[in-house]
Amino acid sequence: MGLRDALFGRTKQVAPQLDNIFALPAAALTLQSELDLVTSGQAGLCFKSGSGESTLLSDADIMELLNFEAEKDSVSLSTDDLGFKWLVINDPTVDGLVTKIHSANATMVEHELGPRLLCAVFGFVPATPPGEGAVRLVYLLKQGTFYPFAPTGPNQRDNELELRVKSFLSTDLVMEKDLSRWMALWNLPVR
C-alpha cells in the first residue's frame, strides 16, 4: 500500500499470485522421499462468496463458470460453517490437482473474483499408514507462499512436523517465512 493510499485511507484489493503453485509437483517428490508423504488425491480452493454485481449466485453458477460441469463427480462445492466456499477436487495425481486448481483460479481472476480467493489446500497422507500423520500444504494466494498445516485434533496441530516439512521444502517451494501467518484451517473439508 503506497503512501498516498494510506493518506487517503484507501485499500487496494490484492490480485492473487497464481504462478508459484506450479512448483508443487517437484515438492511432492521431495515429500515422498524425505517424509514418506503422498498426495491424498484431494485439493481444495477456499474463497469467500460476497454480494454485488459480480456475485456468484448459486453453487451451480460457480460450477458452470469454472467449467467443471463435464467432470461433476470429481469436483464438489460446499460452504463451511464460517461462510467460506470450498471447491474440492479429486484427482489421483499432484499434476492433475495443480492444473485444475490453477484453471479454477485463473477463471476466478478472469471474472474479477481474484480478490475473493483465500487459499488453496493440497492434502498429503503417509504412504505407509500410520506414518507420522497427514499434512496439508496451504497456498496463500495473496502472498504466493506455501505453509504446512498438520492438524492432530479439533484444535491441535503438530508444529514439529510442520517445521520439518518446511525445512525439507524450502528449496522446492516459496515457503511463508513469517510463521505468524501459518494460520490454522480447522475442520477443513480437504482430506
Binding site: 500500500m1 485499500t11 487496494k12 484489493q13 490484492v14 477456499c46 469467500k48 463451511d80 464460517l82 467460506f84 480478490p115 475473493r116 483465500l118 487459499c119 496451504v138 495473496k142 502472498q143 484444535n155 491441535q156 496441530r157 508444529n159 514439529e160 510442520e162 517445521l163 513469517d178 510463521l179 505468524s180 501467518r181 501459518w182 494460520m183 490454522a184 484451517l185 480447522w186
Partner: protein, 306 residues
C-alpha cells in the same frame, strides 16, 4: 526466598550482584547530577518515586489489565488451579490468585508486589499447546519469579531508567532557560559556556539512560535464568521445562492456532499485508535467548543427576 527449598547458583548471584552494583553507581551519579542542577527537583523526584511505587504496588492489576486477563475460580479452571496448588505446596509458599488471558500467544506471567499479593496467569494459547507436565514446569518458573520478588527488584531497577530520563529532560529545560534568561546584560561568551555545560549534562544523562536501560535488561535476563533454575529444581525435571520452552518460545510458539478464515482482516486476506517486523537484538531483550536457557537447563539436569 530463604523459606523456599531452592538451591542457589553462585555464578548467577555474582553476576546479578555486579549488575545491581552498577545500577547503584548510576543512582549515585544521578543524585550528584541532581544536586549540581540545584533546587526545584525535590518535588519532581517525589512525584517520580510515587509513580514508580504505584507501578509496583498495583503491578498485578496493571499486568492483568494489559494482558486482558481475568481471574478464574477452581470450578472454571480445575486443571490450572490443581497444578498451582501442588506447586505451592511443594515450594511452601502462599497460593497466588490464578488468572487466564484470552489470547492465542503462548505466554504466562506472574506479578504482584509480594508473594501474598501475587497473581499467576496463563494464556489460552499456552494451555492448549503444552502438556500438563510442561504447563506445570512453566508455572513453576512463574512461581519462582514470585518467590524471588522479581517485581520489586525490577521496579527498583527500571526506576533508575525513569529517573535518568527525568534528569535529561531537566537538563534540557535548564539549557533553554539558561540560554534565554542570561542574555540581558552579559556578553555572548558567557552564555555560550553555560549552554555548553548544559548540553554536556544533557548528553551525559542520555548516555546514563541508555546504560541504565541496558543494565536493567541484563538484570532481567539473569532473573529469568534464576527463575528457570528454581522452577526446574522445584519440579525436579529441567528437561520438561526445556521442552516447554522449545514449544512456546522457538519457531513453534509463533505458529498460530487462529483460523485463517477467522483472521481474515488481521491476516490481510483481502488487502495488502503490513510489513513484518524484525527481531530485536539480544542486548535489548528482557529474556535470554532460547539457546542460553536450554544450555543452562541441560547443565542443571547433569548436576541433578550427577
Amino acid at each position: 526466598m530463604a523459606k523456599t527449598k531452592i538451591e542457589t547458583d553462585h555464578g548467577l548471584n555474582v553476576r546479578m550482584f555486579l549488575t545491581g552494583l552498577a545500577l547503584v553507581v548510576l543512582y549515585l551519579i544521578i543524585t550528584t547530577l541532581l544536586i549540581y542542577l540545584g533546587v526545584g527537583y525535590g518535588l519532581v523526584i517525589v512525584i517520580v518515586a510515587a509513580l514508580i511505587f504505584s507501578q509496583y504496588y498495583f503491578s498485578d492489576k496493571i499486568a492483568m489489565f494489559s494482558m486482558h486477563a481475568h481471574e478464574v475460580t477452581p470450578a472454571e479452571e480445575p486443571r490450572l488451579h490443581e497444578i498451582v496448588d501442588r506447586l505451592c505446596l511443594l515450594a511452601n509458599m502462599p497460593k497466588p490468585r490464578v488468572g487466564v488471558a484470552e489470547m492465542d500467544i503462548p505466554n504466562a506471567f506472574a506479578t504482584g508486589r509480594s508473594p501474598s499479593h501475587a497473581v499467576i496467569c496463563a494464556t489460552r494459547g499456552i494451555m492448549a499447546r503444552l502438556s500438563d507436565e510442561e504447563l506445570e514446569a512453566v508455572l513453576a518458573h512463574e512461581l519462582s519469579h514470585v518467590a524471588h520478588r522479581d517485581v520489586a527488584i525490577m521496579t527498583i531497577a527500571s526506576g533508575v531508567g525513569m529517573l535518568a530520563g527525568l534528569v535529561s529532560r531537566m537538563a534540557m529545560w535548564g539549557a533553554m532557560l539558561g540560554g534565554g534568561g542570561g542574555g540581558g546584560g552579559r556578553g555572548g561568551n558567557n552564555n555560550d559556556n553555560a549552554a555548553l555545560v548544559e548540553l554536556a549534562t544533557w548528553v551525559v544523562s542520555i548516555l546514563i539512560y541508555v546504560v541504565a536501560y541496558l543494565l536493567t535488561m541484563a538484570l532481567s535476563r539473569y532473573r529469568e535464568l534464576a527463575a528457570d533454575r528454581s522452577g526446574a529444581i522445584l519440579i525436579g525435571k529441567p528437561s520438561v521445562l526445556a521442552s516447554a520452552l522449545v514449544h512456546i518460545t522457538g519457531d513453534m510458539g509463533r505458529i498460530p492456532r487462529t483460523d485463517l478464515r477467522k483472521a481474515e482482516t488481521m491476516n490481510a486476506f483481502f488487502f495488502v499485508p503490513a510489513l513484518a517486523g524484525g527481531t530485536a537484538a539480544s542486548l535489548f531483550s528482557t529474556h535470554p535467548s532460547l539457546e542460553k536457557r536450554l544450555d543452562a537447563l541441560t547443565k542443571l539436569e547433569r548436576e541433578l543427576n550427577g
